[in-house]
């Protein structure tokens, strides 16, 4: 042949690049491990719904404290039922509570509405009282005979049923209230009650009409006491006779001096309609969508704080557990042998201590110095990381002898690199899932500890759902809302986190891939 070594340059020509057949590029996007997990998570409707509910609850906890709800504690308005002025018209959140009343206490409740209409002490008819804005009785539902007496079941607005209270105010405040009354047309100050034989309880500002023993209303006819009944009042045959304190001219007295000081500085003792006094003080009418708690805080706000605390504790614990457990489990699982044995023993011992004992000891020892929440966190972390560590350990045992680890080691990767770059990402899904599934457990434990009173998380700035429930536990048969709302929220949280966690677990488990189809 010809001299192949010396082929002239001219004989060469460029190959057409178009002729070379390349591998075709994927037209679809690659689906990675996490993307795949995400896609399969989205298919699981229950988990998605759970995630949405969790987001709603979190938003509730974050947004509600910013809504300007009343943050103060109002002792008169403690344990009040849910009340919202807009919803009131359609019969929800009326602030009403249905209870049984005997005739005398029903009259008393009705009479508060009548008294509120008559600040001048000129007398008021039963009818005027019924239609008044401040009438506490919403509806009488039924009456039943019990022995000799009728027992009425009535729905009464708990806010208005507080009625009147005696209050000591400065003269300056008195003047302010007077001018506020003129400005708004709302009546705060009402006549004081005469302290005579018809006033059976001098500390109760609601006993405004003439009554004898056991709050039985009477009329004075020719100097004699005539008892009047509910029917008399309804039919208009009798009127409640006021028992107001009056001066020489017969006009009612609105204040008396109380306490020392001169005439100019002494405090005034006045009788106020608490509902309007509240409006005067705060500038808005009392309305609490979820009612108020046993101390008189807004339950909506308290619950938001409780959720915040629960979630904060749960997230912190789960994050710390994730880190601690992953590191501990990785070392255990990767090195194995004697190290594994010793570390397993340590975690065995720690997991043998009942959690409640750990929590109690931490509270007693540390709560005074560190505060309740940090010591609670310590207690959770103390035993909580063990399950994560165990999970990580098994994952490491599974992967450490696989070919890709061997390959990495042959190429000279160091232990640390193999652990974090090669094995850890493969077990990440399982570890994350386990740390999400810790959350409901932590929420439950935290609420249980505060419910039992082992951890004291109550305060003016914070509270826990468990504390709310434990405050309600002895009185909630009378005030069901105190129990229902916190219990509902905590149950929802637990259910949703469990569903969400299960969804994650299935999504991160590649072996379940395609099973559903």
């Amino acid at each position: 042949m010809e001299n192949l070594n010396n082929i002239p340059r001219e004989k060469f020509q460029f190959a057409d690049t178009r002729d070379i057949s390349h591998d075709k590029k994927f037209e679809t996007k690659p689906v990675g491990y996490f993307k795949d997990a995400w896609l399969r998570f989205c298919k699981n409707k229950a988990s998605v719904v759970a995630a949405v509910i969790i987001i709603i609850i979190v938003l509730y906890a974050l947004i509600v404290p910013l809504c300007g709800l009343p943050e103060f504690m109002d002792a008169y308005y403690a344990r009040m039922s849910p009340r919202n002025l807009a919803l009131r018209n359609i019969g929800i959140a009326t602030g009403g509570s249905t209870n049984e009343y005997n005739e005398r206490s029903l009259i008393l409740n009705y009479s508060l509405g009548a008294a509120a209409e008559d600040a001048e002490g000129e007398g008021v008819t039963w009818e005027e009282g019924l239609s008044g804005y401040y009438q506490p009785v919403i509806a009488v539902k039924s009456s039943a005979k019990s022995g000799n007496n009728l027992v009425y079941t009535a729905e009464v607005d708990t806010y208005l049923a507080v009625g009147f209270i005696y209050h000591s105010i400065t003269q300056q405040e008195y003047a302010d209230i007077i001018s506020w009354q003129e400005e708004t047309g709302k009546q705060v100050l009402y006549p004081l009650i005469a302290e005579n034989e018809y006033n059976i309880d001098k500390s109760n500002a609601n006993y405004w009409y003439k009554m004898i023993t056991r709050a039985t209303p009477v009329n004075i006819v020719d100097g004699r006491e005539v008892q009047i009944s509910y029917e008399d009042l309804q039919s208009g045959e009798a009127m409640l006779e006021d028992n107001y304190m009056r001066d020489e001219n017969g006009s009612p007295v609105y204040y008396t001096y109380t306490g020392g000081g001169t005439v100019e500085t002494a405090m005034y003792r006045v009788r106020v309609l608490y509902y309007n006094y509240y409006v005067y003080q705060n500038g808005f009418e009392p309305q609490y969508l979820f009612g108020t708690d046993s101390q008189g805080y807004d339950l909506a706000l308290r619950m938001a704080r409780g959720i915040q605390l629960s979630l904060l504790v749960a997230l912190c614990v789960s994050a710390i557990n994730l880190v601690l457990g992953a590191v501990y489990g990785a070392i255990e699982g990767y090195y194995g042998g004697a190290i594994d044995l010793i570390m397993e023993r340590i975690s065995d011992i720690l997991s043998g201590v009942p959690f409640i004992v750990v929590a109690t000891l931490f509270q007693i020892h540390l709560a005074a110095q560190l505060g309740a929440i940090p010591s609670l966190l310590f207690a959770f972390v103390m035993t909580g990381w063990i399950s994560t560590a165990a999970r990580t350990r098994t994952q490491f045992y599974r992967f450490k002898n696989s070919e890709y680890v061997l390959a990495a080691r042959t190429l000279g990767a160091r232990d640390r690199r193999i652990i974090w770059k090669h094995i850890f990402p493969n077990s990440l899904g399982t570890i994350i899932t386990s740390s999400v599934l810790i959350i409901p457990g932590v929420i439950f434990d935290e609420s249980m500890l505060s419910f039992l009173g082992i951890v004291n998380l109550g305060g003016s700035e914070m509270t826990s759902l468990g504390t709310l429930l434990s405050d309600a536990s002895s009185i909630w048969t009378r005030y069901p809302h105190l129990m229902i709302f916190p219990a509902l929220v905590i149950s929802l949280l637990m259910i949703c986190f469990n569903l969400f966690g299960n969804g994650l677990r299935d999504a991160f488990n590649p072996s379940l891939r395609g099973v559903e189809e």
């Binding site: 043998g352 201590v353 009942p354």
Partner: protein, 319 residues
């Protein structure tokens, strides 16, 4: 097998000892409070001196162990039941706790297994979906919510049961009397929800796994009816993990549920625990801690060992 059992027991005792030592140190480090009553305070101070409460910690621990081993004396209750031995205080509380939990155990095990088996057989049909959804709900809802609901519906609205557990004198002086049984029912029912749900979920999971196993196919091909195959092969094999779980539940019955005891005022171990913290009665607290730790460890070890007895594969592998 014997060797394995002995090894496990020794390990457990070691763990137990370490935990108790740590807890003892932490409890004894706490400042003790004397009652306000001066005479009583003097007596108690004198007792504490005599019992060595002012010695160094390690010496105290030595005394504590010595008293336990020689006289079975776990210390004295100073506040809950004044000057009574801690062991007696807790011993009198074990029975109510066990009873409440035993009743709920007896009710929930058959129901749980039956529901679980039913759901597994009807897998992916509406029956299974209903049961699984309900189980998910019932597992998640905290036990005190059930307690409140039961208290509201059965005790308050319907008035079937008393609101709290009767006292011993009201019930005729016996924990086993019908009055006592009846008054314990609300607590029992509240405990049942969670237990049934847990057991149903576990049974369903195990049984669905055995139902898809190859030997089930073999059983059907050799001519067994579906019901025969399920009862004779699948259920039997599914029991291998279920039985240890039931056994461990049975042991942890001793621990009881603190919340339930608190709500229904069952005079049990859990209530004693709360009392001992509130009243700062540290010897009783220590006693209760020992009790809970022991029960917890025992449950764990019994499960592991019972696997060996129940599962022939593990038993054979050991030889």
């Amino acid at each position: 097998m014997t060797k394995y059992v002995i090894k496990r027991i020794l390990l457990m005792l070691f763990t137990f000892f370490v935990i108790i030592t740590i807890c003892f140190m932490l409890v004894r480090l706490l400042p003790r409070e004397l009652p306000t009553d001066k005479n009583l305070a003097e007596i108690m101070q004198a007792r504490w001196d005599a019992l060595g409460y002012n010695e160094p910690l390690l010496v105290q621990y030595g005394i504590y162990l010595k008293m336990i081993f020689t006289k079975w004396d776990f210390g004295t209750s100073w506040y809950v039941q004044r000057m009574a031995p801690a062991w007696e205080v807790i011993a009198s509380r074990i029975l109510p706790t066990v009873l409440v939990n035993l009743y709920s155990f007896i009710i929930s095990v058959p129901i749980g297994i039956a529901l679980g088996a039913f759901a597994a057989i009807k897998k992916n049909k509406w029956q299974d979906h209903t049961i699984s959804t309900l189980v998910m709900l019932f597992v998640s809802i905290p036990v005190y919510v059930y307690a409140f609901l039961v208290q509201y519906v059965f005790c308050f609205q319907l008035g079937w049961f008393p609101l709290t557990v009767s006292s011993l004198t009201d019930a005729g002086g016996s924990w086993l009397s019908p009055t006592m049984f009846w008054s314990m029912m609300p607590a029992v029912i509240s405990l049942c929800f969670g237990q049934i749900a847990g057991l149903t979920r576990f049974t369903r999971a195990e049984l669905t796994e055995t139902l898809t196993a190859d030997y089930m196919l073999l059983a059907r091909t050799k001519g067994l009816k579906k019901s025969q195959a399920i009862t004779r092969h699948a259920l039997k094999n599914a029991m291998v993990p279920i039985l240890p779980m039931i056994i461990s539940t049975f042991i942890s019955i001793l621990g009881g549920s603190m919340v339930i005891e608190q709500i229904f005022s069952v005079p049990g171990v859990g209530q004693l625990y709360i009392q001992s913290i509130v009243q700062r009665d540290y010897d009783v607290f220590m006693m209760d801690t020992i009790f809970y730790t022991f029960v917890g460890l025992l449950a764990g070890i019994v499960v592991d060992i019972s696997y060996g007895f129940i599962d022939p594969r593990i038993r054979m592998g050991e030889k």
